[in-house]
């Protein structure tokens, strides 16, 4: 998974504001779309609540793999809740995470953008490959890989563009270090892809209507 694990003060105030404003723009668009759709999202709201609880619970747990990693289930959020509700879900999760001391308040905007990219890409890949990959497990797994990889790229871009205050390393050195983080994160993505695939396959068997899958 991708999450900017830097403390408040790592980015300058200007960049904190930039990422917050960008994130709030996406949240505003999501709220506008939800309002336009009205009561059609009633079932999705319940799903969004459950994935919020599950993702928050898992997101905070450090797993002793490759020295320490954690999962965040953002691709599952995208697949089950969709990108519109998913935008609100990742905002809530990041705020709650900061509230318990996992991540800085100033980095919520940047982390929402990172997680939102995971949600949107996983959703698009999952929906877009239905015709060529009918198997739910592998389709959800591949969508998870794509989403998490994209999230890692966004994370690197945000860090490199913002710069980190008080460090003497060059951009190339930071990029080299972040590349290793991406590699480790994508190793952990295998677990997340397997979990997402199994959950989606189970839901597809028990309640295919929740996935919007039309039996062909």
């Amino acid at each position: 998974m991708a999450h900017i694990h830097l403390e408040d003060g790592a980015f300058t105030l200007a960049w904190v504001i930039v990422w917050w404003v960008l994130a709030l723009v996406f949240i505003a668009v999501a709220l506008w779309l939800l309002r336009a759709e009205g009561q059609k999202n009633a079932k999705k709201v319940t799903i969004a609540a459950f994935v919020t609880a599950a993702a928050f619970a898992l997101f905070q747990v450090n797993i002793p793999l490759f020295g320490g990693v954690h999962l965040n289930l953002t691709p599952l959020i995208g697949i089950l809740a969709g990108p519109v509700l998913g935008a609100l879900v990742v905002l809530v999760i990041n705020i709650l995470s900061a509230a318990i001391g996992h991540g800085g308040w100033g980095l919520i905007g940047a982390n929402v953008l990172v997680n939102l990219s995971e949600v949107v890409v996983a959703y698009l890949i999952f929906r877009g490959t239905r015709a060529i990959i009918p198997d739910l497990f592998s389709r959800a797994g591949i969508a998870t890989f794509a989403g998490l990889f994209c999230g890692n790229l966004v994370m690197v871009v945000v860090i490199l563009v913002s710069g980190i205050q008080g460090v003497t390393q060059s951009t190339e050195q930071v990029l080299a270090g972040l590349t290793l983080i991406i590699a480790v994160n994508m190793g952990v993505a295998i677990i997340e892809a397997a979990i997402t695939g199994l959950v989606v396959r189970y839901i597809g068997t028990a309640r295919p209507d929740l996935l919007g899958e039309v039996q062909s």
Binding site: A57, G68, G141, F145, V188
Partner: protein, 90 residues
């Protein structure tokens, strides 16, 4: 549906997983065992406060942030989920 079409999804999944697994082990060999914060701080060139977050873990699993607040938020989320399910259940 031919066998290749039927299994191409899982084949692609396995191929991607294999590539990422090799990359992850190579990166792990390069960095050594590091926690999330430490790995980030090393990449960014910041000094890290090692060991602080490791306390209270169970066989390497531990909650990042305040464990009590974590449990409180979980309780609130469970109640909220129950309320939303009750409200929107058809």
């Amino acid at each position: 549906m031919t066998a290749l079409v039927q299994y191409r999804g899982i084949l692609v999944f396995g191929l991607i997983a294999g590539i990422f697994l090799i990359a992850a082990f190579a990166a792990y060999q390069a960095t050594g065992p590091m926690g999330i914060e430490e790995r980030f701080n090393t990449a960014a060139g910041l000094s890290s406060d090692e060991g602080e977050e490791e306390a209270g873990g169970i066989v390497g699993f531990f909650v990042e942030g305040n464990a009590l607040y974590y449990l409180l938020v979980i309780v609130v989320l469970v109640i909220a989920c129950a309320a939303i399910y009750w409200r929107f259940h058809e």
